[in-house]
Subunit: 205 residues, 2 copies
């Protein structure tokens, strides 16, 4: 069984042993002869895949009524992977979603690390610092770099900790956020776990 | 006694009875014959005021060792106004500073409302919503507008509430943030109070 998470820059495959990526510009999905279960947020690729019988769109097999209409399919699929967790997906956005007893309770969206750094710089060129992931968030900051790091990350941490739930971090910036949430579990393959759950629930394989 | 807080767009005056603004492009500080105690973040205006004997720069009369070197003078002056408070200054940035027993404990910086709205839009045009200041922050969001509002404001609120201190809100967006912190006191003239404290401490008047 081949799983694929398609974004704006790459096809991210997982064959249940290893993961690999193909560039969205150069990869031709017609070259794939086996069954591929996928989720996709790339609107350019969507009409091509629609015509291919062996590419199965898992978004059509999710119980959408458990979520909300405009919620990104990647968030939905990550939620399908867990029973009781707070999920942090740290990519271009940071999304935080809560699942209790297998039920989606709601979630929120923050800009990701790169976008927040840009935003502080656009606010003032005196705030052109990278974030300090080794910051001690138990102390109020007394320098500019820590003042923006704290404004971005202590606020996220305070809200996340308020929920007192097991934390799973996924996404490209998972390692960086792990420094802020050392008690969290990192699961780089969380989306693929969610896809496997949907396949199993739907009897697709 | 005339007080003035100079920003990038206006001279904000307070004559101890009323406040008024003058446009930074059209106002000529030479026309002011009385003593003006000011703080200024506008680098264009600074060399002009330096030459005028009746314009007294209060940043030269603050005990800077109580703060940190790159801290904005507006934040410093707001802190001078209080003994025990958490101050939220909601303008183009949102700054949060803590003063305990008259001592600055540290503070942090978040992008302001306008900049955060822009950032969400730059993240995805599907996140082009204004913030919902009537949101119920006790419920996890289940729609896009609330998901970004919560990501911005519930995180701020969780961190602010963790400090369990009396809250004072100032700045142009104070009324909007008051909806998120209904227990807070709004003080539009906080900076002028801080300026008066510095004048008194320094025996300048």
């Amino acid at each position: 069984m081949l799983l694929c998470d398609i974004g704006n820059s790459s096809y991210h495959f997982y064959n249940e042993r290893e993961e690999y990526r193909e560039d969205v510009e150069s990869f031709n999905p017609l070259t794939c002869k086996e069954r591929v279960f996928f989720i996709n947020v790339n609107t350019k690729v969507a009409p091509i895949l629609e015509k291919l019988d062996n590419w199965i769109d898992l978004s059509l097999h999710v119980k959408k009524e458990n979520y909300y209409e405009t919620m990104g399919i990647d968030r939905v699929v990550a939620c399908e992977a867990v029973e009781n967790s707070l999920i942090i997906d740290a990519g271009s956005a940071i999304t935080v979603d809560i699942v209790k007893d297998g039920v989606f309770e709601g979630g929120f969206i923050m800009p990701g690390i790169k976008k927040m750094r840009e935003t502080y710089f656009r606010l003032s060129n005196r705030l052109d610092y990278s974030f300090n992931f080794d910051i001690d968030l138990d102390k109020m900051p007394k320098n500019s770099q820590d003042a923006i790091t704290y404004g971005f990350l202590a606020t996220l941490k305070a809200e996340v900790n308020r929920h007192n739930m097991p934390i799973i971090i996924t996404g490209g910036d998972a390692q960086k956020l792990h420094k802020i949430f050392p008690e969290a579990k990192i699961d780089r393959l969380l989306l693929f776990s969610g896809m496997q759950t949907i396949i199993k629930k739907g009897g697709l394989c």
